[in-house]
């Protein structure tokens, strides 16, 4: 999009100046999203999120524009101070400007260039800029093949591509010389392995050379840049393969490479990849070493698991709940004994109906059930069939049953 303002050298003078000013304006707008404050670059990706939120607020606002307060309200998910600081930066770079240029204007509008820049940034961050490079190459090829293209277009195109490939080749060869392998593997995947990239660039090169043979010097530079890129790829690949050794490091190639191979290869070739990957029937394999270890660790009785040593303080903590349970047990026992008195059993319905209100009947029932469930207490609760209904009584219905004191335990 920076190319939009390409200088037209047909007319000189003021037109030139106007064109340059237009380029500068778009350039400043586009890079506003990268600026933390005037003259400084953005450092944290969170600020990009804030920018995106501000720009999407403008996108949603319609043709009226937004006041600064409305923008802050729309971006209330972010800290207000950050939002207003970003708003100032965007304003300073001209990415956000007043709807009408007059004092006391409260409504602002946003330019589209910064948002496109954001999209590019995110894509490049995700895929390392490779698909952008492919698109750039297609665009360059189209522009040099266009009937209206002049030799100046061809020269500019070739020069741009030369620079791109020089930059990539330098980065790659510096990395393959100096960086450690892990770093190389991480970054190199995004930079190398692009025969398609090179062949596209060569197609641009061939078109330019055929149409404008006078540009042979520029084309020579481009050939050199491409060769340097290819050498850098080989060096990086050589270093990686040397370090990868015999392990089947499938991460050696970028995932796209595997995917396109899987799509384009014929069945025989695809099958050949797995020739060495036939595994034995899905049955466990016994490695003699493992067997020996299993046998050696087997017979020893002292390998029985010991509880891990506890800190001394733990003893108190462990003792406490037990004591609490014992108190509870005693409480239940005394409560049940109180109900039983001298009898061997009591009827549940009698006990519950005697209780003054529903809540206390419930408490009694809970105690009887607890007494039955506690194996340490000699009480058994048995329920009969049926339902005893009494309209005026406190629990309106009761299932009859009896609580018995176990003979042998008491």
């Amino acid at each position: 999009m920076v190319d939009d303002g390409r200088v037209q050298d047909v007319q000189g003078g003021l037109d030139d100046l106007a064109g340059e000013a237009a380029v500068l304006r778009v350039y400043r707008q586009a890079f506003a999203v990268l600026a933390r404050e005037a003259e400084k670059m953005i450092l944290s990706p969170q600020l990009l999120d804030v920018d995106e939120a501000i720009l999407s607020a403008f996108a949603a606002s319609g043709s009226d524009g937004l006041t600064e307060e409305q923008v802050r309200n729309a971006c209330r998910a972010f800290p207000e101070a950050t939002v207003s600081r970003r708003f100032e930066v965007l304003k300073g770079y001209g990415a956000v400007s007043k709807v009408f240029e007059r004092p006391n204007e409260r409504f602002y509008r946003a330019a589209f260039a910064p948002y496109i820049m954001l999209l590019f940034l995110r894509r490049i961050a995700e895929r390392g800029g490779q698909s952008e490079l492919h698109q750039l190459l297609s665009m360059e090829h189209e522009s040099v093949s266009a009937p209206a293209a002049t030799d100046a277009d061809g020269r500019a195109s070739v020069e741009r591509l030369t620079q791109v490939f020089r930059l990539i080749a330098n980065e790659l060869s510096i990395m393959s010389l100096g960086a450690d392998v892990a770093q190389l593997r991480e970054n190199a995947q995004l930079l190398w392995g692009n025969e398609a990239l090179i062949s596209r660039a060569e197609r641009v090169h061939a078109t330019v050379l055929e149409r404008w043979p006078a540009l042979d010097r520029e084309c020579q530079w481009m050939r050199a840049a491409l060769a340097a890129y290819r050498d850098a790829i080989d060096a990086a690949a050589g270093r990686l393969i040397e370090r990868a050794g015999t392990t089947r490091a499938l991460g050696l190639l970028p995932a796209e490479e595997w995917r396109s191979f899987a799509r384009t290869a014929d069945t025989a070739r695809l099958g050949a990849v797995l020739d060495t990957f036939v595994f034995d029937a899905p049955a466990p394999w016994f490695d003699p070493q493992v067997m020996t270890e299993a046998v050696e660790t087997g017979g020893r009785p002292d390998t029985a698991r010991m509880p891990p040593p506890r800190p001394a303080g733990d003893a108190d903590a462990a003792g406490e709940p037990e004591a609490a349970a014992a108190v509870d047990q005693d409480g239940i026992r005394s409560a049940v004994e109180e109900l039983l008195a001298t009898r061997e059993f009591i009827k549940i319905e009698d006990v519950l109906r005697v209780a003054p209100d529903w809540a206390s009947a419930r408490r009694v029932l809970a105690q009887l059930t607890a007494a039955h469930l506690d194996p340490a207490l000699p009480y058994t609760l048995t329920w009969d069939e049926g339902l005893d209904v009494a309209e005026s009584a406190s629990p309106a219905w009761v299932t009859p049953g009896r609580l018995t004191r176990d003979q042998e335990a008491s």
Partner: protein
């Protein structure tokens, strides 16, 4: 679980196999045999069947049947799984199962200097006695339970042949896949284990 010949669908189909013993093995038969072995483990075939490419043919001592065991090159066997960091087939109670296989090895591999296949058959009492030595003192029921579970697992995977009605145990065809260096390790293991005849309760 009954005898392996009736439980395993692949093995039980051996006589209905269209592969005639006289015909040389073609690529289709090879692929078929590999697929069968992949699904069902070692194949039991009539004795005259030629071995498909890459398969090991192990004749039974009785002479009328043979086993076909897939033998992949060393660069493609289960060690590759470890190299790739992938999990192999899940094995329950791996330690007890390995101990039981060691016990069977001690009982059925009479002379550790001889070839490991086919070995001799041993009574389950002897195997259980050695297994008991390897696992250490255990509750009788727990001991028996873990032994039977391990026997079933190993029988299913072709590591041993368990004749449940005859109560005898033999080494399975898969043991022929151990390489020379692995057999050396196993010989050491063999010598470290107690002799079944010396153990009480091993008389079958």
């Amino acid at each position: 679980m009954t005898t392996p010949t009736t439980t395993d669908p692949v093995r039980s189909k051996k006589h209905t196999s269209p592969t005639s013993p006289s015909r040389p093995t073609g690529p289709d038969d090879t692929a078929l045999a590999w697929a069968r072995a992949r699904a069902g483990g070692p194949l039991r075939v009539p004795a005259g069947t030629p071995a498909p490419a890459g398969m090991l043919r192990l004749p039974e001592p009785s002479g009328d049947v043979a086993w076909l065991v897939p033998q992949v090159p060393e660069t493609a066997d289960t060690r590759v799984l470890a190299e790739l960091g992938l999990a192999g087939p899940l094995l329950e109670q791996p330690n007890d199962t390995a101990r039981l296989l060691a016990a069977v090895l001690r009982c059925c591999w009479e002379d550790p200097l001889a070839v490991i296949w086919p070995g001799t058959s041993a009574g389950s009492a002897a195997v259980l006695a050695v297994f008991g030595e390897l696992t250490g003192p255990r509750d009788e029921m727990a001991h028996r339970r873990s032994a039977v579970a391990a026997l079933r697992r190993l029988d299913q995977a072709g590591w041993l042949l368990w004749d449940e009605t005859g109560d005898t145990i033999r080494l399975g065809p898969r043991v022929a896949l151990w390489s020379g260096s692995e057999l050396t390790t196993l010989r050491q293991l063999w010598r470290s284990m107690p002799e079944p005849a010396s153990l009480p309760g091993s008389a079958s």
